[in-house]
Symmetry: C2
Amino acid sequence: METTIKDVAKYAGVGVGTVSRVINNEKAVGEKTRKKVLEAMKALNYSRNNMAFKLRKNETRIIALLVPIINHPFFAKLAYYVEDEAGKFGYSVILVSSQQRVEKETEIITKIMHREVDGAVFVTHYMHEEEDLNKCPIVSIDRTFGDNIPYVTSDNYDATKKALKYMIERGAKRVGFIGSKPLVNSEVLERERAYLDVMAEYNMPICMVNEVMQHGDEKVVVADFLEKYADVDGVFVSGYTLSQVFYEAAIKLGRKIPDDLQIVSYDGIFKQWSMSNMTSVEQPIEEMAREVVRLLIKKIHNEETSQRTVLNTQFVLGATTK
Amino acid sequence: METTIKDVAKYAGVGVGTVSRVINNEKAVGEKTRKKVLEAMKALNYSRNNMAFKLRKNETRIIALLVPIINHPFFAKLAYYVEDEAGKFGYSVILVSSQQRVEKETEIITKIMHREVDGAVFVTHYMHEEEDLNKCPIVSIDRTFGDNIPYVTSDNYDATKKALKYMIERGAKRVGFIGSKPLVNSEVLERERAYLDVMAEYNMPICMVNEVMQHGDEKVVVADFLEKYADVDGVFVSGYTLSQVFYEAAIKLGRKIPDDLQIVSYDGIFKQWSMSNMTSVEQPIEEMAREVVRLLIKKIHNEETSQRTVLNTQFVLGATTK
DNA sequence: AATAATATTGGAAACTTTTCCAAATTTATA
DNA sequence: TATAAATTTGGAAAAGTTTCCAATATTATT
């Protein structure tokens, strides 16, 4: 049906090996033959069947990207740069939104085992058994696995500490923490640890809501927090969605920001997408994305990689702190 | 290296054909043999090499999704549902952000020709030559091609008309239009047409900025508009980013919204991304995504499809109109 | 001009699967 | 029990590449 390398070979009057060499332009082919072959290719409108190519080479040059949900500023931005960086190395990216369903993770592992993709980036996930994971080229963001899965993260602990102290130095007397607890071992937990440490250091009471939650629960959680700790005058909010919901709710309750209540969020700012002007810890999403792709490609080629990469955040001042 | 169907056959003491039949569980295989084979598969930890499978079947079960940029509420939401719907049919989705580079489009066409993907969804694009397009299973959103590319769109003309009249009925005397002109034949142009028609109908002056622009130009374009047409008391803003930027700029200029200036946007509302509460025409993104995937899969299987599918928008009242 | 060294070429084998045909086995029928 | 019919099975062929080895052609060296 479609023209194959054989057709080209016949048309050009050469062997298939020669045609292959021309396609992959290897040097060892005479000038006149090369020309003949190129002409034949053009004449027959040949294009290589990459399924056969991949089978022969045993590589797909595709990686999978697993995010909880693509329709979210953080993950969309991450996906953008993952795709861009992967492209630089000749890899395509298959997108998978896990929607908190663990099957999606096993699905990807199966895809790797079945040679449908060469490897995967797991941004967050819920799987507990890890036997299969170790056999596959997988890298991660924020999640801390066993020893075999390299990951990239940001300086959660330091950044949170700095954020909290910033509010305290500007007069906050009762400082709260609101977040969504990860289901698995994640560097995001460092934010909670930092909070507890700072409260201890300043001898302040713990005002924290940090439970495992579903996407969509934000309003309830925030209302809960604001009722329970109505008297806080400084809050650290972990994550974009929570920060947006929290801000809105606080305003609605008549809290004056920042005079009456200061807010610092982690990931609270995405200039391009919202008009919010929140003081925020900003993660180096682009660098995290590019680095995680580079790690994965190294892993695919069985090269050595560092196990943990920590990148610096930026503390961005906005209108929600004094 | 890896265990193949041959190894399994040898281990189970049967022929490769039989193993294949078991894997794809066809009925014509005896109960005892089936059991033997399944045991062998488990014992050898066999998993099928899907590259070989795809080569043999001549289908990849992958589709490409080309968006201008994934890091944008509209396209991210679309991608989310495209992935979900494709998954229902057993297809994976390769994500490509074109970033307004025409090469990305030809790249995808090449991928189709090279049998790396079975087809593609083009959300918007810039390509002018269409010869190759017609040979490939491609569907589109909003873009109107020749006769061979089915597409899905929303009722741009009606929705815009309705939005404009809504403001006029509530007292707007001087109504403007601000948008980003598509580079190619797109249903988005219907918004401009609706504006011109309504202005003619009400005998109002044209206050319009609607030029081809780059991502990032929004601030300049908005400033331009607000200077040129400082006296408008109603504006239709086309697209999410523009609407956010416009709102912010108008507030900064001290315009009172909606008393002094009403705003209706097309696509101005994405709850998950921003807290803005704008009166807006909301596109049925989920349905558009699902429909476009269904169209593509039909095209891949050479089934008949309708050329143009128009879905209804919703007019959502917010705080930016009286 | 003869030989050695190098460059180019052809084509079989391999990659792993599905599919098809013929052969072998089982079951049903008389 | 013999035959017909139906079911199950084995294995070669095909899908379209790349790669390797041996063979041929070219160029350099004496």
